[in-house]
């Protein structure tokens, strides 16, 4: 009988195992560990870059969507993903799945930044300014990219709805917030960028630095048609960025792991570290892509004879900038800043930093073309198209200038992504963009 009692006792012991009931995960960590040291907070910051580099964000889709929205007369989408076909045809529905995932990912970046901003006290004094500056930069660039895709262009009216601003120190809460106006959205982005400029160093490996913050700021002002501030920001970036220079060959600016001399900000992709989402859609099968996006023959024909940049287009119209599966995704190159400065100086009839002609020729000659003797505003704007094609900038340049996209007016409802279902379902009161069912 004693034997049975012993077995029963054993069973009771098995029945009450508090330790086993509070197991800990093996490959993930809780916030108490993630925010425990200055170094760990920096890992969270780098996690923000990691999310920003996601193919759903600046690692690909944000540039792709922009190119598809601005595709008319430039490029065509040959792929089978219906949500991308819909973008290229400007026939998006409220539940467009691309609009959904990119929205979510952008706010993940913002959340990472906010978590870092909430953990400033944990940071060592020696790194605090830089880390906080980078977090502000990440938050600003994400808000900005959201505003470009999910709101009408600033040029169509600053009182149009912007996006939901998520600026707080610490992780996000479950509260449903309304959209801010475009004006307030842009003001917040500018404020974050200016704060980051005050904190960031001039050089910072491939991560955000003061030059990059000025560079993005010039884009923000350009969208607002605030040419004087855009000029100032672009000039500050060029002037501070003495270590940057254009590559001798245009082709050398693309498909490289690690930044080239003209990369002011880029998404880092190396073999086994990151994915180049542009390669997936723009490169043909022989280069590891789906071969979905190719330039129209009519657009290719507009390149001047001898323009090296046309050599980045293969015989089937594929853009060779994205042929390297393990190369970076360029976000902001020095050439763009020179063209921005040229455009603003031209408009303002000034020569801050340099003359419009010199800035223009710097870019123009690098493309293997003869230096121009004189330059017009239209020349500079055209140069932007040839310089930046297939990099997700064309669409934003056209809409800020009030140019139509094919038959669609620059402020057409069809050129704005829907506020996605992931936002409208939990927060049904959020304002939807015109033309979409809620």
């Amino acid at each position: 009988m004693r034997k049975y009692i012993l077995i029963l006792l054993t069973a009771f012991t098995i029945g009450s195992c508090e330790d086993e009931l509070s197991l800990e995960p093996f490959q993930s960590i809780g916030e108490e560990i993630a925010l425990s040291t200055s170094e760990s907070v920096e890992f969270v910051l780098r996690g923000g870059y990691d999310r920003l580099a996601d193919t759903d964000a600046l690692g690909g889709d944000m540039l792709l969507y922009s190119d598809l929205l601005g595709s008319d007369g430039v490029l065509s989408f040959f792929g089978t993903f219906d949500f991308l076909q819909d973008m290229s045809r400007k026939e998006m529905l409220f539940n467009n799945s691309g609009a959904n995932i990119t929205w979510i990912t952008a706010y993940e970046v913002i959340n990472q930044a906010n978590i870092v901003l909430g953990a400033q006290d944990i940071l060592d004094a020696g790194v605090r300014d830089r880390v906080v500056g980078e977090a502000l930069f990440l938050r600003a660039i994400s808000h900005f990219n959201l505003a470009l895709l999910y709101s009408k262009p600033y040029s169509a009216g600053a009182t149009n709805p912007g996006i939901i601003l998520m600026r707080q120190e610490g992780a996000g809460d479950l509260e449903c917030r309304p959209r801010s106006s475009l004006q307030d959205t842009f003001a917040a982005i500018i404020e974050d960028l200016e704060d980051s400029i005050a904190l960031l160093p001039v050089t910072n490996d491939v991560f955000a630095n003061r030059v990059a913050a000025y560079g993005i700021l010039s884009r923000v002002y350009l969208q607002m048609e605030d040419y004087s501030n855009a000029l100032d920001a672009a000039n500050q970036a060029i002037t501070l960025g003495t270590s940057y220079s254009l590559n001798t060959n245009y082709a050398d600016a693309f498909g490289v792991s690690g930044n080239t001399s003209e990369d002011i900000f880029a998404i880092q992709v190396a073999q086994g570290d990151g994915t180049n989402g542009m390669n997936t859609f723009y490169a043909p099968a022989s280069q590891g892509g789906r071969g979905d996006v190719r330039l129209d023959a009519s657009f290719i024909a507009t390149f001047a004879a001898g323009d090296d940049r046309a050599n980045m287009i293969d015989s089937n119209g594929f853009i060779m900038k994205w042929f390297e599966q393990f190369g970076n995704v360029n976000v902001l190159r020095l050439a763009e800043l020179h063209l921005t400065r040229a455009e603003c100086n031209m408009r303002l009839n000034s020569s801050t930093g340099d003359t419009p002609l010199n800035d223009y020729n710097l870019v123009h000659e690098r493309a293997g073309l003869t230096a121009a003797m004189s330059v017009t505003l239209q020349d500079i704007l055209d140069e932007r198209v040839f310089e930046l094609f297939g990099e997700g900038q064309y669409f934003y340049d056209q809409t800020r200038l009030g140019n139509s996209i094919g038959t669609f007016s620059f402020d057409a409802d069809q050129l704005v992504l829907p506020i996605p279902t992931s936002q409208t379902i939990p927060c049904p009161d959020v304002e939807q963009n015109p033309g979409y069912l809620n």
Binding site: M1, Y4, T10, A11, E20, L21, S22, L23, P25, F26, Q27, S28, I29, G30, E31, V44, R46, G47, Y49, D50, R51, T80, D82, F83, Q85, D86, R89, E91, L93, N95, S97, N100, W103, I104, Y107, E108, I110, N111, I164, A171, G172, D173, E175, C176, F207, Q268, Q271, D273, G274, A285, G288, A297, N316, F318, Q325, F326, T421, Q423, I425, P426
Partner: protein, 996 residues
């Protein structure tokens, strides 16, 4: 030693000195009173015995006070104690009543007549064909209320089994599987690898199964607590029986082919339509470029090549199974051992599966005090495939290839049409030539038990189960494949290991007090510890042909290399009390307390009680005169069960680690709810069981109502929180239904019998509440949605109104009934993938030694979304369904197919089809050889048979096969969704069974 020998001798001598007497008698059957020849008559506890002769008479030497045991196949065994009388005549009762059956229940067994819960018992050997290829096929059509769908004929494809509907949205909906008292692992290791699914039941040899009990109501499942809500399947394997060693051999072989094919355009139609289309899209001349590319230089203008790509997706599929078992034993120790081997080609090219199973069971008895035993089941399954379900190179997607395209180039290599001009899809043939992809699963189930009879009424039972599973998947692709071209070849391997340890101990008490009060009680403890190891590694850069191991890679792809470890723990106390009064009134109570590491600190322990009652009306005096009713029982139950089938650590907010620019990153991978708990299902069940007309008609009718609250739910939250959902308990869903089963013995003659059994079930599933908003729609390509007031997974989309005869564009209905384009159309519920009812009818005929059995199985009233068809109706370089060739071409055309360049092929009612079907699921024709030949060959039995599966299908479904769901996106919500899922298989086989 000498002492022992002396003792034994003394014992034998002593035994011989007891008074022996001669007992004679006649054994007859109860129903017809005829004498029974060949009845085994043994002295209980010995091997001494005899058999009755042709007149049912026997003679035996036995001492007074000993017990005679009469046993005969098909009859209940009977014991008689020898007294002073030397003539003992015996009447044996037939065992043909289903109600006399013993039914296995959780942690015990009971007789079917005393059961107060709803349990289906299946005995594979009694169902049509003892050599089923897989255990799920035993369920399909044979168990009312159990929905079984093999979602496609892809080997190893996931199989959906739902008992009484789906009662969860984001939790697992598969039932709990228990083999001989041990809960086995049901993890699908293939999930997330893009490869073959794994199926826990595949680790068992169907020929080893003695019985399957499916527990459906709360009275039966509450004793499994937080894991019982999806129903419980108890599988009992064969055990050795006392007597000479029996050998059973079964062999089958056959072949399979697709059930149905679809019709696609040929080269002429394809070229005629596709060229102008591309000219229209991209400018004059582009059409010719596309066709030149796709025809690979052949003369498409004159249809030089006309490839039937669909036929290339299939292969000649042969299969064979062999199973050998040995069993036997003596009074103290019994054993059962078996070996089996299955080899099966899939109907899709490049697919095959081989499975070996070894099973060994030994049961032993120590005096009358203890029973103990040990069991081992080991299986190894290897599955070859081409590529994942949702890949261009999955075989059935070959239908997208252009008929003008030759398959091979002049050197005999498959052509990859994604290269060069690039308008073309990657295909299976290229992948098959340049890759290998296989999955090996080793599954070891060990269990041991020791039961002690403490007193006559009280027993202590203990059991330990260990289930260890190793999963290995390897996919090598050389530099000519699409996936690994840029990597110069790649080898991706997944390794997973799972160990589940389940100790349990419980006391059982069973006693009849004062002849009227019967108490049957159980109380026990159980724990379960599960550990999972996972790793994946991808090597890239393979320069040496033939050297394809990771070791030969020039680099490791960090993005696809990772590992993880996971654990979870359950600790439980359970009990049951059954009380039977006067053998008429039955009462049952059961409860389980479950604690689990899977749940939030604030909600770690749950309580799951049930109550039930039964009334055996035929035991009442007032029913004694109703002669046509043999048995009638009313039963009802109510109780709580739970579902804890979720991933580990879902209650925590977690950061995962990653890498960016070569440095560690932390990012929020999930938001957690510290109050996370189980889903709770309240289930009410009422049923009537009957047996009428001298047991010629029997059946059961049940009604149930299941209300599930605190659903596991990826609750949508504002993405500004840093994620778009949080896993929590919120929302409710209900399942209500009826189940009817009938079994009729229409003719029962010596030479001829005809038996009909049928069952049908209706389940209504309804989402009762959701946390925010009433509608959770699908992404843009699909339509399965969650909508309050509707069943799970209804299609939410727009209604196709037809084609505008003037413009040729598709039109849809707006909310006001007017016709509009897709963007202005009203979003509404346009289809329901849940069937109205399911059922089956089986006829079994027996004439002399021949038998014929066939089952018609049906699923009625469900809709299927032809999710891939929008790619098959023209508009791109995909091949076109013949049914779409009547597209609009000129103003005035009246057709239901929009012009091919209608840019927006929206998902709508245009791609929803009725999925109802009736199918001849199984037909078996067999012959059992007679005694003459058997005696000559010294065999116990020998049988040859033909079996056909899915021989006939009656349906209006427009796709390949109405038994369908796309594997890669299958979930509780994503049902009835056909996305290049392909046909099921139809098979023909011949088999031989030999027993000696």
């Amino acid at each position: 030693m000498k002492v022992k020998l002396l003792f034994v001798l003394a014992f034998f001598c002593g035994a011989l000195t007891f008074a022996q007497k001669t007992v004679t008698g006649t054994v007859t059957g109860k129903s017809d009173g005829e004498p029974l020849p060949g009845v085994s008559v043994t002295i209980k506890g010995t091997t001494t015995g005899t058999e009755t002769d042709f007149d049912g008479k026997y003679t035996i030497q036995i001492e007074e006070g000993k017990v005679l045991l009469f046993s005969y196949l098909g009859f209940k065994s009977l014991e008689k104690t020898v007294g002073s009388n030397s003539v003992i005549d015996v009447v044996l009762e037939e065992e043909n009543s289903v109600l006399d059956e013993i039914v296995i229940v959780g942690y015990g067994k009971t007789s079917k007549v005393d059961l107060t819960g709803s349990v289906v018992k299946l005995k594979p050997e009694e169902i049509n064909n003892p050599v089923v290829p897989s255990i799920e096929q035993v369920f399909q059509g044979n168990a009312p209320g159990v929905f079984v769908e093999s979602q496609s004929a892809k080997l190893g494809g996931a199989i959906r089994i739902n008992i009484r509907g789906v009662a969860t949205i984001n939790g697992g909906s598969a039932p709990l599987y228990v083999v001989d008292g041990i809960v086995i692992s049901a993890t699908d290791f293939g999930a997330g690898t893009g490869g073959t699914s794994t199926n826990a039941l595949n680790s068992l040899n169907p020929a080893d199964i003695e019985s399957i009990e499916i527990l459906k109501d709360a009275a039966s499942t509450a004793i499994y607590g937080s894991r019982g809500a999806n129903g419980v399947v108890l599988i009992t394997t064969k055990k050795g029986k006392e007597g000479v060693v029996k050998v059973n051999l079964s062999l089958t072989s056959g072949f399979a082919e697709p059930t149905r094919l679809r019709s696609f355009a040929g080269a002429e139609d394809y070229a005629r339509i596709t060229g102008p289309l591309f000219d229209g899209y991209f400018g004059a001349g582009v059409g010719d470029q596309v066709l030149d590319h796709l025809s690979n230089g052949t003369d498409w203008r004159n249809n030089e090549v006309d490839t039937d790509w669909q036929s290339l997706a299939f292969q000649d599929a042969f299969f064979s199974t062999a199973s050998l078992s040995l069993s036997g034993g003596n009074e103290k120790t019994k054993f059962y051992a078996s070996l089996s081997r299955n080899d099966k080609d899939g109907i899709y090219i490049g697919t095959k599966q081989g499975r070996s199973v070894a099973n060994f069971t030994i049961d032993s008895k120590y005096k009358e005090v203890a029973n103990f035993g040990f069991q081992m089941n080991y299986s190894r399954t290897k599955t070859d495939q081409v590529s994942g379900d949702n890949a261009f190179s999955t075989p059935i997607q070959l239908v997208a290839q252009a008929p003008i395209s030759p398959v091979f180039d002049s050197s005999g290599s498959a052509i990859d049409y994604t290269l060069g001009f690039g308008t073309g899809y990657y295909n299976t043939i290229v992948e098959l030539e340049n890759s290998f992809y296989f999955t090996v699963v080793d599954n070891l189930l060990l269990s041991g038990y020791a039961n002690f009879n403490i007193t006559e009424d009280l027993a202590l039972n203990s059991q330990l189960g260990i289930n260890k599973i190793n999963f290995r998947q390897e996919n090598f692709q050389n530099s000519l494949t699409q996936d690994a071209r840029a990597d110069n070849g790649a080898n991706l391997q997944y390794l997973q290991e799972q160990t589940v340890v389940t100790p349990q101990i419980f006391l059982t008490f069973n006693k009849l007090f004062s002849e009227v009060h019967n108490i049957d009680a159980t109380i026990g403890f159980e724990t379960r510890f599960e550990k999972n190891l996972f790793s994946q590694i991808r090597g890239i850069g393979f320069d040496t042909p033939g050297l394809n191991n990771i070791a030969n890679a020039s680099a490791i792809d960090r993005e696809l290399t990772s590992s993880s470890v996971g654990e979870n723990f359950f600790s439980s106390v359970f009990g049951r009390l059954n009380y039977k009064l006067q053998n008429k009134y039955l009462f049952g109570f059961s409860a389980r307390w479950d604690s689990s590491s899977r749940f939030g600190e604030n909600n770690r322990t749950g309580f799951f009680p049930s109550v039930s009652a039964g009334w055996k009306l035929t035991e009442e005096d007032f029913m004694k005169d109703v002669s046509f009713i043999d048995f009638l029982k009313l039963r009802t139950s109510f109780g709580l069960t739970g579902n804890s089938n979720i991933a580990n650590f879902r209650d925590r907010t977690l950061f995962s680690t990653g890498v960016y620019r070569g440095g560690t990153t932390y990012f929020v991978s999930q938001l957690g709810d510290p109050n996370l708990s189980w889903e709770t299902t309240e289930q009410f069940d009422i049923g009537l069981e009957f047996q009428l007309f001298d047991r010629k008609l029997s059946g059961e009718i049940s009604y149930y109502n299941k209300q599930t609250d605190d659903l596991f739910f990826n609750n949508p939250i504002s993405p500004t929180a840093g994620d778009n959902s949080i896993f929590t308990n919120i929302g409710a869903i209900s399942n209500k239904g009826i189940e009817v089963s009938l079994n009729a013995s229409v003719v029962e003659k010596e030479d001829f019998s005809w038996n009909v059994s049928m069952n049908f079930a209706r389940n209504r599933n309804r989402v009762e509440s959701l946390p925010s908003g009433d509608i959770l729609p699908a992404g843009s390509r699909f339509m399965n949605s969650v909508i309050v007031g509707q069943p799970l997974g209804v299609f939410y989309g727009i209604e196709f109104a037809g084609v505008n005869p003037d413009t040729g564009f598709a039109e849809y209905f707006a909310a006001d009934g007017s016709r509009t384009d897709a963007s202005g159309a009203e979003q509404k519920v346009i289809g329901d993938p849940n069937p109205d009812w399911i059922g089956a009818i089986t006829n079994t005929f027996r004439y002399k030694n021949f038998d014929l059995s066939f089952m018609f199985q049906t699923v009625m009233g469900n809709d299927i979304h032809l999710g891939g068809d929008s790619f098959m109706v023209g508009g791109w370089f995909d091949n076109i369904l013949s049914s779409a060739l009547d597209a609009w071409t000129a103003p005035g055309d009246i057709t239901n197919t929009p012009r091919f360049d209608d840019a927006h092929v929206s998902q709508s009612t245009r791609f929803v089809s009725d999925g109802s079907y009736v199918r001849l699921k199984n037909l078996t024709f067999g012959y059992n050889f007679g005694d003459g030949l058997l005696n000559k060959l010294k065999l116990d039995n020998m049988r040859v048979f033909f079996t056909g599966y899915n021989l006939l299908t009656f349906t209006n479904y427009e796709g390949w096969d109405p038994e369908v769901n796309a594997d890669y996106r299958s979930s509780n919500i994503n049902i009835g969704s056909d996305f290049y899922s392909g046909p099921q298989e139809k098979s023909y086989s011949l088999g031989l069974l030999i027993g000696l």
